[in-house]
């Protein structure tokens, strides 16, 4: 089935190559996978042949599904696919509107037909956007702008089906250049995401503060380094067993002149009374505001709560995921190599049949433990995440 959807053989090969890279964990981390995904989708779109919106959406979804199945715990893949799908619909909509506008002066009847839903006597009288259920859903139209948004969102499903019939109205393929440009913006955004998050760092960190962080998040790293241009502060970094990524973090921070203290994970609670702020990175942010972050984050967040220390999450907005209840899934935390916890050479004299070694990679940090999420597009309380998610992706894509 898959092979029939993506026609271009070279592209399909690229998709499969990426899939096997993900399976072998040669590409890890939400940022790296996000960038690879969007590059791949760009290729999929540029080689795709399609006549209608639906066809293109099907192709992109098929490619997306293959990648997601390869690594279902990298939520940024799904987010990027959803984002691209949203862009596709937007570009088609814009093209359809433009086509309607250019051909309406000539007042050809078929041009009107693409613009309007199938003419029923009632909907011809009052536009569909003013029905009471839409009113409930979208709020009341305050200005022409919101009216346009309403109609655009109304237009999605209808025009999708409409283009099958009126494909000659505008050439579907002509949308491609604009679409590729739009995807380029997504790539740019991903490439500058660290700067985006870090740009307001100095508003969040004050002079002589003591910050605690855990693991090596590139977002947090950029954030702290950006703040260091303006302030002097101290960072306590927990080693973060068993990956010990905290050691790299400490090295990197001290190399850029930040006074850094490396501590074992076990003393996070004891030190918390001196800490002014806990800053954590994220793997994925759920719609309820809960966060998947490197294991150890939950200890830090819980200790912070005990001392009423604020917990700040630094994350790019592409990590916001339209899922609510992943924390039900035990496996959602992903598991690392058990040898990191107890290597085979150290296990002499231990009856390994009687010992299970588990190395969960992520912690789920409940939204109640998070004070604010700092993103490349502003700071949000955890309770607001669901709204950002709702605005960023189309509802129909929440299940890919």
């Amino acid at each position: 089935m898959r092979d029939t959807v993506i026609k271009d053989k070279g592209t399909q090969k690229h998709v499969e190559a990426f899939v096997s890279k993900l399976r072998r964990r040669q590409v890890v981390g939400s940022h790296a996978t996000a960038i690879e995904t969007v590059l791949l989708l760009r290729q999929v779109i540029s080689t795709a042949r399609f006549n209608t919106l639906d066809q293109l959406v099907t192709i992109v979804k098929a490619a997306g599904r293959q990648i997601i199945e390869a690594q279902p715990k990298e939520h940024s893949i799904g987010n990027i696919v959803r984002k691209v799908l949203r862009l596709i619909r937007e570009e088609f909509n814009a093209a359809a509107t433009a086509a309607g506008a250019t051909s309406s002066p000539t007042s050809t009847p078929p041009a009107r037909a693409t613009q309007l839903p199938p003419p029923t006597p009632a909907s011809a009288v009052v536009p569909p956007s003013s029905s009471l259920s839409n009113f409930v859903l979208l709020g009341h139209p305050r200005s022409n702008q919101s009216l346009a948004v309403e109609q655009a969102s109304q237009g999605h499903p209808r025009q999708g089906s409409g283009h099958g019939e009126h494909s000659e109205e505008f050439k579907a393929m002509s949308v491609k250049p604009a679409l590729i440009d739009a995807i380029k913006d997504v790539i740019d955004e991903l490439e500058t995401v660290y700067d985006g998050v870090a740009k307001n760092a100095r508003d969040h960190i004050h002079a002589d503060e003591i910050i605690l962080t855990i693991g090596k998040s590139r977002t947090v790293e950029a954030f702290l380094k950006s703040a260091a241009h303006y302030r002097k502060f101290t960072v306590i970094v927990a080693e973060t067993a068993p990956s010990f990524s905290g050691r790299d973090m400490a090295q990197s921070l001290s190399a850029s002149g930040i006074s850094t203290v490396l501590v074992p994970d076990s003393c996070v609670y004891a030190l918390m009374s001196r800490v002014n702020k806990v800053i954590l990175g994220a793997h994925a942010v759920l719609a309820n505001g809960g966060v998947f972050a490197i294991s150890g984050s939950l200890i830090a967040a819980a200790a912070a709560r005990a001392h009423a220390t604020p917990v700040v999450i630094c994350t790019g907005q592409y990590k916001f995921t339209p899922l609510w209840n992943l924390y039900h899934e035990y496996a959602a935390v992903d598991f690392g190599d058990p040898a990191q916890v107890l290597a085979a050479k150290d296990s002499e004299g231990i009856d390994m049949d009687k010992v299970d070694i588990v190395n969960p990679y992520y912690d789920y940090v409940k939204p109640e433990l998070v004070d604010v999420l700092i993103t490349n597009e502003g700071d949000h309380p955890p309770s607001y995440v669901y709204r950002v998610v709702k605005e960023a992706y189309d509802e129909e894509d929440s299940d890919l």
Binding site: S131, L132, S133, W324, R387
Partner: protein, 374 residues
């Protein structure tokens, strides 16, 4: 909660009502005598009797109160002789006021009326046609919405489905939307349910019967056993009569205590509410609800003269046999001093599932602002 259609209605016309509304407490507001329809005195739109129309609509068990209110108002529009928007809206407001004056608990009614009136005031009018045409369109929209409103419970059940694992669930009293969510979950997951008896109406038994009939293991617990039960459950599902702007909810009495206990035990509490139950209203305490509470929890004006024999009888010292025979039951008057609904604060609610999506309690106010703010 189920209160609206299925349950409280029988009480409305019974003796209980007469006690709840003390005569003369606010003579202008509450019309105590209402022998029968037809002569409501001030039917807003001259000849049209809103109250009996509303009662007629509510006799359909499945119709929720706010939707019934919307349908009544569409009938008001249909019967209206108004030639301008202003007249029409005034007529609707009058009709809503008449309806509200008939009930001590106006929560669901208000939500429906406010929504429809707001819709009428903001709906774009097609000025190329005359006003009667616009009115017809409003009526059509109202009726269409009432039909689609029925499907909102499916959507809510769908949302709730993702949050239910093979869980023990605690619920309170009877709610149609909770029932639908539970029955849906039961199709694919093994769930078990604890339900409170929910005195004095005892609607928990209705839940129990329906769930048992569907093959879901279900146990009725005393309202006073919620705390005892809480450690055994994984999550709490409650319906609601209205969700207010603070993100809190108004629901059958007992919900608040259940929510406080759930919070204390760190169990999630999910509220299920259709969007037409969202009410633009910001209560700060239990006593702010749009409910006539002048007679609730009143204390006797003078010290009771008779010895409190009820107390001695109920004390644990009493021999069991005597106790079972002669503990006096609560009288109707005593029950009537108790509230039907309470207000659950937003900080006790984990999430609200509604047909417009899954919302955090904070999200309710932004939704309401979207609909009601200028």
């Amino acid at each position: 909660m189920a209160t609206e259609a299925t349950t409280s209605r029988p009480h409305r016309s019974s003796t209980l009502r007469a006690v709840v509304i003390p005569e003369g407490s606010s003579p202008g507001l509450l019309e105590v005598p209402r022998k029968d329809s037809g002569n409501t005195g001030f039917a807003a739109e001259d000849q049209f009797d809103v109250y009996s129309a509303y009662k007629r609509l509510l006799s359909d068990e499945l119709l929720p109160m706010p939707v019934a209110a919307i349908l009544v108002l569409t009938e008001v529009v249909a019967n209206s002789k108004a030639a301008t928007m202003y007249e029409l809206v005034e007529g609707l407001k009058d009709a809503a006021a008449v309806l509200k004056s008939k009930y001590s608990n106006q929560v669901g009614l208000t939500a429906g009326c406010d929504l429809f009136i707001r819709y009428v005031t903001t709906a774009r009018q097609d000025f190329s046609r005359d006003f009667s045409h616009h009115k017809a369109e409003l009526v059509r929209q109202g009726k269409e919405y009432a039909e689609t409103a029925q499907s909102s419970r499916d959507k809510i059940a769908e949302h709730a489905f993702g949050f239910i694992k093979e869980d023990a669930i605690l619920t309170h009293s009877y709610s149609r939307v909770v029932m639908q969510a539970l029955l849906k979950a039961n199709r694919r997951k093994r769930i078990s349910v604890y339900v409170t008896e929910a005195r004095p109406k005892g609607l928990g038994m209705k839940t129990y019967n329906a769930l048992t009939a569907a093959g879901i293991p279900c146990t009725v617990i005393l309202d006073s056993a919620v705390a005892y039960c809480m450690d055994k459950v994984d999550l709490v599902l409650v319906g609601s009569e209205a969700v207010v702007e603070s993100g809190g909810l108004i629901n059958a009495v007992g919900t608040l205590s259940m929510a406080i206990i759930a919070k204390a035990a760190n169990k999630p509490l999910y509220a299920l509410a259709e969007s037409y139950k969202f009410l633009r209203f910001f209560p700060l305490s239990q006593y702010d609800l749009p409910i006539d509470n002048s007679s609730l929890l009143t204390l006797p004006s003078q010290k009771p003269t008779a010895p409190r024999h009820s107390l001695t009888l109920a004390s644990p010292m009493t021999p069991r046999a005597v106790q079972s025979q002669s503990v006096p039951e609560m009288s109707q008057e005593q029950i009537a001093k108790n509230p039907e609904v309470d207000y659950t604060r937003p900080d006790l609610i984990t999430l609200v599932f509604s047909d417009v999506g899954i919302l955090t309690p904070d999200g309710i106010s932004s939704f309401l602002v979207g609909v009601f703010a200028d």
